[in-house]
């Protein structure tokens, strides 16, 4: 899967240089959809493959992806537009100004992660298939990947769908990884909350902490990425990609550690070991 993602970026890079495309390329809706969904499907395969002991049904994982793309994505956009207020309200020019932090953390972060949370909490979370803590990460990551596809598609079709192929491909891969990882943190909290068994208050506290932690990651990602993507009056897409990759990779490593911890204590692992014995 990871090789496929690298191949996707390398192909875009190769096409751009072989065809000598120095200007942005215009993508139609169909090609933008393909461009946004390619890295998403590869990441989906990667995260699903991490569920080794008892892989979740593929149609459930796909369902989580669809919920992220078609429910959480539009819902978050609606909430952000609603909370951003009157059109006269605009962000200040300084890329690290306080209003940008408030906007990124309390509005964008909470709206995005809250929408992903609602999409899973009131559907697959209630399903009998959600039967171990690891499932929280698997389903939420799938939702995050669907959500990132929605964002990538929207950004590709905005401004006439013009992008630099190589930077656009790398950004789509990294954005997908980032949203899958943020959702993975929230998924960890959801899995933990469902199976920890310490009462309603404890469960709600874990869920709220998970949601806020994911929102903080998402907000920081946005602010710092925006701050690094401009250099004076010039735009630096590769600087943005490089930073987003570093940040997303850090959160991804954290999610991977959480996955390993949950795999080690998975109830299905002990079942397998019992059967093997």
């Amino acid at each position: 899967m990871l090789a496929g993602l690298l191949a996707f970026v390398a192909t875009a890079f190769g096409v751009q240089h072989l065809l000598g495309l120095s200007a942005p390329v215009r993508l139609g809706p169909a090609s933008a959809l393909l461009f946004a969904s390619m890295p998403a499907l590869l990441w989906l395969g990667y995260f699903h493959s991490q569920d080794r002991h008892e892989p979740e049904p593929k149609h459930y994982v796909l369902g989580a992806f669809v919920l992220g793309a078609f429910v959480a994505g539009p819902a978050a956009s609606f909430l952000i537009d609603l909370a951003s207020g009157a059109p006269m309200v605009g962000l200040r020019l300084h890329t690290l100004s306080l209003d940008r932090w408030v906007y990124a953390l309390a509005i964008v972060g909470i709206a995005q992660e809250g929408s992903k949370y609602v999409a899973i909490r009131y559907t697959l979370y209630l399903s009998p298939e959600f039967d171990e803590p690891l499932d929280g990460i698997i389903y939420m990551s799938a939702t995050g990947i669907g959500f990132a596809s929605y964002l990538s598609y929207r950004s590709l079709v905005a401004d006439g769908g013009e992008i630099y192929l190589s930077a656009g491909a790398a950004q789509a891969v990294v954005t997908t990884l980032a949203h899958a990882s943020f959702a993975g943190i929230l998924g960890f909290a959801m899995g933990h909350a469902k199976f920890a068994g310490h009462g309603h208050l404890s469960r709600a506290t874990r869920l709220a902490v998970g949601l806020i932690a994911a929102a903080v990651c998402s907000g920081c990602f946005r602010v710092i990425m925006d701050a690094l993507s401009v250099d004076g009056l010039a735009s630096s897409p590769w600087r943005r990609v490089a930073f987003s990759f570093g940040f997303a990779a850090g959160i991804f490593l954290l999610t991977s550690v959480l996955i390993r911890r949950l795999l080690a204590i998975s109830p299905h692992k002990s079942e397998e070991e019992t059967i093997d014995a």
């Binding site: 909370a83 951003s84 006269m88 962000l91 200040r92 509005i107 909470i110 709600a204 949601l211």
Partner: protein
């Protein structure tokens, strides 16, 4: 009943949603107070109004042709601009949003047009500025702080850049003749946000009263 409600809240962890919505609402309020632009006053030759702070003051221009119209090169718009105002004391100032150059306020102060029909004179000027891609939506007198301003809403087409598709911009023009001087304040914006800009500027529009305004006697062109 109360137990059932409490059980529902607990079973579905509705408290988490309440916390999330509270953060979102609080964030929205704080963000509005931080990001809402402060208004600053514009005052020149008796003309006063409030405008959003932080906007860029574009260089004084001798030409009536807006950058938007110049962006339509190839469409022929702007090529038939009327002669530049050269009289001493004439003002042509433009303020533009640093985030969206389509959001602009244009101020023109000059001698009253020799053509007695103000509405007609302004219509001719707009035609010269925006060419065939301009059309007026409505025009009428608007009483602001005891003065009758001629308020005209119009639209025009422009291209944001050479490769861009033609787009429609909307504008509202306020004009008045006072002390033999013509004061014209034009607000340019996207259709969806023009009313917000209008609310800031129009409510604060003032012109020093030394002689009676002349706009009420003007007649619409045929």
């Amino acid at each position: 009943m109360r137990d059932r409600a409490s059980s529902l809240v607990q079973r579905h962890d509705l408290g988490v949603l309440v916390i999330a919505l509270a953060i979102l609402a609080g964030g929205a309020l704080v963000h509005r107070s931080l990001a809402c632009p402060d208004h600053v006053s514009y005052a020149k030759q008796g003309l006063q109004f409030q405008r959003p702070g932080g906007w860029l003051t574009l260089p004084e221009s001798n030409s009536y042709v807006t950058p938007l119209a110049l962006g339509t090169a190839g469409f022929g718009v702007g090529t038939s601009a009327p002669p530049a105002p050269n009289e001493p004391g004439d003002v042509h100032t433009r303020f533009a949003s640093p985030k969206d150059a389509r959001r602009r306020i244009e101020v023109r102060i000059e001698g009253r047009p020799s053509y007695s029909n103000l509405r007609g004179a302004l219509a001719v000027q707009r035609l010269g500025q925006y060419g065939e891609f301009y059309w007026a939506r409505s025009s009428g007198n608007s009483a602001i702080a005891g003065k009758d301003w001629l308020r005209t809403e119009f639209r025009y087409a422009f291209k944001p850049n050479k490769r861009g598709s033609p787009q429609i911009a909307e504008a509202i023009e306020y004009a008045i003749v006072n002390d033999e001087r013509l004061f014209v304040v034009t607000l340019h914006d996207r259709p969806e946000t023009l009313n917000d800009l209008d609310a800031i500027v129009a409510d604060s529009l003032r012109v020093a009263s030394q002689q009676a305004s002349h706009t009420t006697t003007d007649k619409a062109p045929p």
